[in-house]
Symmetry: C2
Subunit: 213 residues, 2 copies
Amino acid sequence: MTATAPLPREDGRGGRIRQQQECAILQAAEQVFARAGFQGATMAEIALRAGLPKSNLHYYFGTKAEVYRAVLGHILRLWLAETDCITPDADPREALGHYIAAKMRLTAERPDASRVFANELLHGAPEIGDYLRGELRTLVADKAQVIEGWIAAGRMAPVDPVHLFISLWALTQTYADFETQVCAVLGRPQLGPEDYRRATAHVQALVLRGCGL
Amino acid sequence: MTATAPLPREDGRGGRIRQQQECAILQAAEQVFARAGFQGATMAEIALRAGLPKSNLHYYFGTKAEVYRAVLGHILRLWLAETDCITPDADPREALGHYIAAKMRLTAERPDASRVFANELLHGAPEIGDYLRGELRTLVADKAQVIEGWIAAGRMAPVDPVHLFISLWALTQTYADFETQVCAVLGRPQLGPEDYRRATAHVQALVLRGCGL
DNA sequence: TGAAAACCTGACCAACTGGTCAATTTTTGA
DNA sequence: TCAAAAATTGACCAGTTGGTCAGGTTTTCA
């Protein structure tokens, strides 16, 4: 019922200023949502971090849910990619190794994105359920067939391909989502590049050997 | 500043009624916290599910944080156990296989507990950080030594034991914490016993082979 | 049996938070 | 240069929620 925000043409860019501000807002929002979840996050804090008054924030995004959806949208784009290397002709060992490294890099570089995503899933994915059951499922089904092909050709051990993807996601994301626990048992104050290198090597070794590669 | 609730002697049981009510409350609270997280959960909903008026809920637990801590306490007790089978003399293959099965059973039987725990970790474990860096870390360090022993004796492939534990937790809990995503890619409306059986077999196969067992 | 302890509850409140709005300033582009 | 569009902002509001409290009922147990 508000005529305040003339909604940026989703396609073309809005004004120069709008682009800048929206970017700052989404960056701030990702942090806040990651730390506090949807309910725990407040518009006031997002505004504060983005460096503008709350009412200005509402000028760009009508509701908190709108900000949240925008943040999730950004994150989903990151999630889809990275499976390119999994093709029938690729070398299974190299393809899976690359995929693991890529996912782990994403986890290390954008832990907040991972956490927002995790939080959304944890609460039943009310916002992105359709995407999961649509695009993501299709993508996984495709890649699963590739892996079935590798198995049928005797190029790797028989492994349920869909469960394998679930495992890969779990193994990599856990380092961002549950960083506190990981740090605790590793006895580190926080995860650094060296920790991520070790984690990547460990997951690769475990999974590749687990797939008979 | 309230003298209302004469705090149940933590040690001995409070009155018969108190025990019953507290149990009902904690059960309800686990569900609510699992679905909504700490901030999203409301005392009103917990009370409703427990079948008593909100003010009565406040008679047993002074604050929401107190309820939350009690729920987490229950859950931590579940988490600690299950590693008993990992001992120097045990057969690595059987010990790890059992551990995976046990953790997966816990995940299947108490998914809400897993989700509350996951949520707490996701938000930086403000409540149980000390436990993680204390008891849990010690336990893991102990068990890691056992595994190092197995490796040194050539009874399994060289795997970083601490990262192995992190992997095992991730692989099992993911089926509760991110059930929505798992269901989506598996094309199932919800996970049933058969799904958990398959998941267990998959994780066991992957990890055991991954450990050269 | 009777009084103290434990338990129960509706009414109430203060703080917080998402969101609105009218008025003002800045930017744009013809 | 100047008017229309875009951007900014402080004041404000209504709904929600955690928590309080005074007074009542039930249970316990000596």
